[in-house]
């Protein structure tokens, strides 16, 4: 890995972890357990559309591990967010590689599949199928918040200058 990539990824991961911490201070008056706005995914979606999907993968999974290390520990919560992360990473990468979809559908479907991953993981942990009743409500709210995140990310992306990969510039030493 290039030094530039390493620095960039670590800065984005730090940003995502800080946003995740501030999100935990916000309480949402919705009686659906497990529902979160997922503000930390703004950084992920931004990296995906500003740089590429490899760095999106790095930022998402390193963030999940660091959040587990710092705040929630490697328990059920970590497994839930990891499975959600894997599901949403798969669908996000597929949609990103189609090239015709925009940031809105990527973010909304990512939120939808994140909820699906979490519900499937909880079904495996607790061996109950009845938890799937929560899925439609969870997914619908997640998709609304995904739309909101996409809108915020669009505002940021429209104002950014074009990305220049400085690691590909040859320098004279």
């Amino acid at each position: 890995m290039r030094l530039e990539t390493l620095t960039r990824v670590s800065l984005f991961v730090a940003m995502a972890v800080v946003i995740h911490f501030f999100e935990s201070l916000i309480t949402i008056p919705v009686a659906i357990p497990g529902f979160k706005l997922g503000l930390a995914n703004i950084v992920g979606i931004f990296v995906l559309f500003y740089i590429n999907y490899k760095e999106y993968c790095l930022v998402t999974f390193i963030r999940i591990f660091i959040v587990g290390l710092l705040f929630s520990g490697f328990g059920v919560g970590f497994l839930l967010s990891l499975s959600g992360g894997i599901f949403s990473f798969i669908i996000t990468t597929l949609l990103y590689l189609i090239k015709k979809t925009s940031i809105f559908s990527v973010s909304v479907l990512s939120a939808c599949f994140h909820a699906l991953g979490q519900v499937c993981c909880y079904m495996l942990i607790s061996m109950t199928t009845s938890i799937i009743i929560y899925y439609p409500f969870l997914a619908f709210l997640s998709m609304l918040s995904g739309l909101l995140l996409a809108f915020i990310c669009k505002l940021v992306l429209d104002r950014m200058p074009k990305f220049k990969d400085t690691s590909k510039i040859k320098r004279k030493i």
């Binding site: 809105f104 909304v108 009845s130 998709m143 074009k162």
Partner: protein, 158 residues
């Protein structure tokens, strides 16, 4: 020239287009179909052979016919370590490690209800009375699931 094409592509991908509508509608359809599936399968009326099942993690701690009434059935910590169902229960109920403090479940008139529990948002007590089969009351902080199940009508007599 090449840079300008790339910049144009980035701008295109921040605009809502037809493909987004297609994919988002597909996702909505998926969610709605799961909702319909769950409403059909998990919200059925109670039959005469219905029983109440209480599960703690993956263990069934209580399984009795619905006409056995409790007002309330108390699950609580005893002697600091073990959880215990009330003494007068003669079912599958047995000692188990219970993490919660005290949960009271009311089984009366073919309905179930969580009357009392300690948790952050008290979601399962807000859920109130449940009179349909296959519609669970789930209390995640206490790892409890209370559900009415219909006896399988296709099963041979027992």
């Amino acid at each position: 020239m090449k840079d300008s094409i790339k910049a144009k592509k980035l701008n295109d991908r921040t605009k809502f287009n037809f493909f987004d509508l297609f994919f988002i509608l597909g996702a909505c359809l998926f969610v709605v179909s799961i909702l319909v599936f769950t409403l059909i399968n998990f919200n059925t009326t109670v039959s005469g052979m219905a029983y109440v099942e209480i599960r703690y993690y993956t263990n069934i701690i209580y399984k009795q016919p619905l006409y056995v009434e409790y007002d309330p059935l108390i699950i609580e910590k005893k002697d600091g370590i073990n959880g215990n169902l009330e003494k007068n229960i003669t079912g599958i109920g047995k000692e188990f490690d219970f993490v919660g403090e005290r949960v009271a479940i009311k089984i009366k008139d073919n309905t179930i209800q969580v009357v009392e529990e300690q948790s952050e948002y008290n979601i399962c007590s807000f859920q109130g009375v449940v009179k349909n089969a296959n519609y669970p009351i789930i209390c995640l902080p206490n790892h409890l699931e209370v559900i009415i199940k219909n006896e399988n009508p296709d099963a041979p007599d027992n």
